[in-house]
Homo-oligomer: 281 residues x 2
């Protein structure tokens, strides 16, 4: 496994793979890797010859007052984990390597599907994601790119971006990896105190409970309101509890496939989760 | 020479060139080709093995009330001209082929350098250019892309876009081609009546005159005002007469290299031109 910190180095490392037409898989991350990330790498290994994992805490997707400075940087540990799952190349550029010394004037906005859910409470976040992902795609030029379904809205934004801009690669969404108690794995879980960590699985429990209630015919609005109430009672500050079609459009009819979304804070730690519910099968 | 009208067809046509590592050159156009475009193709032929010319009148870079519907479509004549200069592949997609049937949600904005000059009177124009050029770059995946310096601001926008998004290609700017009387070649020149066509070279004459005046030490503001006055007297409706640094930043000091920009209408036809003036050599 190689680690490259410059675009030039990465390009050189990938040159022979590219010229011998090996399938290149790409897993963009912000590091502080957990089993969720490693599952993405394993999925990439299955269908690609060469797997590149980027580790880059992207400043422009953090808002004012968000956790850019404190976001955990654990490159040594990440490298060990990535070597174990067969990652071929780590791309760990500096902010200057990614954004240069000249001001960036170009912005990319994916409209409509970023207007609500996380887009509402994190203005500019998805623009920052769209820009860095486009840059990384252009640098790595992979055949496949792998993203976790935990960041469901992000995955939808990237699929839209790739479609709208004809970016020549295939986006693969990989299911959420959860702790045994159901908590969706996230680097931000590390911020939780032991007490908060004990409460955190409540989100998934309520999502599963909501699924049952919906299957039993309870009204969506009431089910969503229940989640919100119970989260608040458990000590969360709820950002949103919403339901959407799988393409993030508003629910148009009863009994169509949908996704439930939750974002809620425990102390200063913001957790998100989602659950897709298929009615048609 | 092949003509491809679908992305899939173009990709197939380019596959062998790409796998045998031939240099691919790309000249994006809106068709109705003149000697300016053909000069771009010749420049591409000089350094590339395979030259792709796209002909696509891009709806999203035209504003309300602009000439999208009436913009001349002359594919047969264009094909003949392109065959003569050695173009290898024409890519002439439909609007549906380029934009699909689903709504596009992604926008690309290059800020600051699009705030004035043509950006001011054509709101959204450069966003439309940035989107279509990014799409075309992703479809063609060229090593080199060629743009005329007549659309100087557009060239600057594309250079910025390529730099900011790490698009893996080199942008080549090609000098303006002029008629014998100095008029910068443009597809829109075809809109001019014989009377207007006789007046149109005035723009370049005034730019050359301004260069002389500046070299003789006349004040920039006065020189620009003269151009504007004389154009108005000749029957133009002036949109702007401006000077910028070569990177489109405002002039910061006396005697630095600069570019003079003119946009002016004759009847309903909008003409643009520019002249770079180097003081340092």
């Amino acid at each position: 496994m190689k680690t490259e910190t410059t675009i030039q180095g990465l390009t050189a490392s990938l040159a022979s793979a590219r010229s011998s037409k090996k399938m290149i898989g790409f897993v963009p991350t912000m590091g502080n890797l957990h089993e969720g990330h490693l599952t993405l790498v394993r999925a990439a290994k299955k269908i690609c010859d060469v797997v590149v994992v980027s580790i880059f805490v992207n400043p422009i997707q953090f808002g004012v007052g968000e956790d850019f400075d404190s976001y955990p940087r654990t490159l040594e540990q990440d490298s060990r984990l990535l070597a174990e799952v067969g990652c071929d190349i780590i791309f760990a550029p500096s902010v200057e390597q990614m954004y240069g010394t000249q001001p960036r004037l170009t912005n990319i906005s994916v409209g409509q599907i970023t207007d609500d859910l996380c887009g509402k409470s994190r203005p500019g976040h998805f623009d920052g994601v769209a820009v860095v992902v486009t840059k990384l795609f252009n640098i790595v030029q992979p055949d496949y790119a792998f993203f976790g379904q935990k960041d469901y809205q992000q995955l939808a934004v990237i699929r839209q971006l790739v479609q709208d801009l004809n970016i020549p690669l295939e986006v693969i969404g990989v299911p959420i990896v959860r702790a045994e108690d159901g908590l969706a794995l996230s680097s931000r879980n590390g911020y939780l105190t032991p007490e908060q960590r004990a409460i955190a699985p409540k989100i998934y429990q309520l999502l599963k409970q909501a699924e049952q209630q919906l299957r039993q015919g309870e009204m969506l609005e009431q089910v969503l309101a229940n989640i919100s109430t119970e989260l608040t009672q458990a000590g969360f500050v709820v950002d949103y509890v919403e339901a959407r079609q799988t393409n993030l459009q508003p629910i148009a009819q009863f009994d169509q496939d949908l996704v439930l979304f939750v974002a809620a804070k425990l102390g200063s730690t913001r957790l998100i989760d989602n659950l897709q519910i298929n009615f048609k099968t």
